[in-house]
Amino acid sequence: MSKIKLSKISKTYKAGLFKKKVRALTDLSLSVDAGTVYGLIGPNGAGKSTTIRLLLNLSRPDRGTVRIDALPVHESLGAIGYLPENPYLYDHLTLKELLFFAGRATGLATSDIRQLMEHLTATVGLDHVRGKSLRTFSKGMRQRAGLCFALLHDPSLVILDEPMSGLDPLGRKMVCDLILSLKKQGKTIFFCSHILSDIERLCDRIAVLHQGQMVREFTPDEITELRQGKMDLETEFIDVVERNEVHA
């Protein structure tokens, strides 16, 4: 069964004072099966974050439909955990208070929240700063805090916008392990990243987005070839992007 289904999505932004139209996505269709790890790659401004915002009902498509578990997006938010790019958290709260907010907002009981919080903060390596104000966190620490916020309610679909950005090598490994363990628990993971080696290692499906269109989707067989070194993701990526360059 497909967890996420986008059909023929188009999206334009009206930016600036004169409402100049910026085309972000054109006729994008993709479907993500339950229990898979789906990786979205593409150059800056390709429309990755836009796609993700559509999945969360933060933006709405001009045309096309977005379905999660066959439901419209606003009905399925309870099943989603989301990490935005550059998460901006509440400055004056402590990590503990932020996670209690996440737990209460998703209807967890206080005792469960405490237990999950302790477990999760230890996993991401923030257990020693639970009581510190988020204002004092470094970029990577914020990123980790954002991960806790996304995962606290044990969502069945995890959507991450560049989860590795700003993390040290240990942090990157932690995120990779986290994604693999979520996959083992049967969760669906949809994420985008610029770190191709991680994408190659983690994903069951990889799609390349360029100028708002899907220009390539790697099949499971191709991904096996990538992992065996018979094909190189970076050269494939550059190749497909250059071939599909449309000059406006």
Binding site: P84, Y90, L93, E97, A102, A105, T106
Partner: protein, 272 residues
């Protein structure tokens, strides 16, 4: 639903209380109240009235600073800095977000006003103890009622802030519009009053037309002057229960309308 609204309200409340500007506003209010005690001796005639008036003005002004400097940020910054992406990724409906933020704002303004009220009551009590002769007409009941309506005015202002924040992503624009509504709302009654007088017809060209158009504005902008019971509190004049009831009902109705409208607008918004 109540759980989610409460969770957001609590977060908003805590964010407000930990804002550094709060200390500044408190210091300012305490300074004015302290000044009141010190200079009390100079007003030999209307000492009681001056004290009550000064206290209510200090509470009212401190409340305005709280709403405009801290309150605005509590909602507008969410949208400005995209913290709202995090919040709305949880199963909040847009309406729940609006009500949660509003409740948090009201809790914040209420708690800070309550603390200020304690200090203010202490000031009044001290001055009254020093110069009991000047407080013949004073009544705690009327004083507290007047303070309550100052608070109600701020609650209405919170609803206005939430309404404008739901329209725009810029905290500065929300600030300007909320401030403008307040200033218009507090002066409008007087202007309309003036235009109705016979002298206005001679002094102002087109007073009739101006009066008509202003009456339309009166219906749009809340009448903030209606919440001002300083005069009654200062002179210890009895307050009519029906008058208070109507004012209270007016505020509630206005707040409801603003929040419903804000929820509708907010549900249609995108956060890119």
């Amino acid at each position: 639903m109540i759980g989610r609204i409460w969770a957001l309200a609590l977060v908003t409340f805590k964010e407000g209380l930990r804002d550094r500007s709060l200390y500044g506003i408190f210091l300012f209010a305490l300074f004015v109240l302290g000044l009141n005690v010190l200079v009390a001796g100079f007003f030999m005639r209307d000492l009681g009235k001056v004290t009550v008036d000064m206290n209510l003005s200090a509470l009212s002004f401190a409340g305005l600073l709280l709403v405009f400097f801290i309150g605005i940020n509590l909602m507008a910054k969410d949208i400005d800095k995209k913290t709202i992406h995090l919040v709305l990724s949880k199963p909040f409906s847009r309406g729940e977000y609006i009500w949660g933020k509003f409740t948090g704002l009201v809790m914040f303004v209420g708690a800070t006003q309550l603390v200020l009220l304690v200090f203010s009551s202490a000031t009044v009590a001290v001055v009254r103890w020093m110069y009991p002769n000047f407080f013949a007409g004073f009544s705690w009941g009327i004083f507290i009622t007047a303070v309550f309506f100052v608070f109600l005015q701020h609650v209405l202002l919170c609803a206005i802030v939430v309404f404008f924040s739901s329209l725009t992503s810029s905290s500065f624009i929300s600030l300007i519009f909320s401030l403008a509504s307040y200033i218009v709302g507090i002066t409008l009654e007087e202007v309309v009053f003036y235009l109705r007088t016979p002298t206005a017809n001679e002094e102002v060209a087109g007073a009739e037309f101006l009066q008509r158009s202003l009456e339309v504005v009166t219906w749009l902008v809340p009448n903030f002057a209606a919440f001002d019971f300083k005069l009654e509190a200062a002179h210890g004049l009895a307050l009519e229960f029906s008058h208070l009831g109507v004012t209270f009902g007016y505020a509630c109705l206005y707040i409801m309308l603003l929040l419903i409208l804000a929820s509708v607008i907010f549900s249609r918004r995108e956060f890119n």
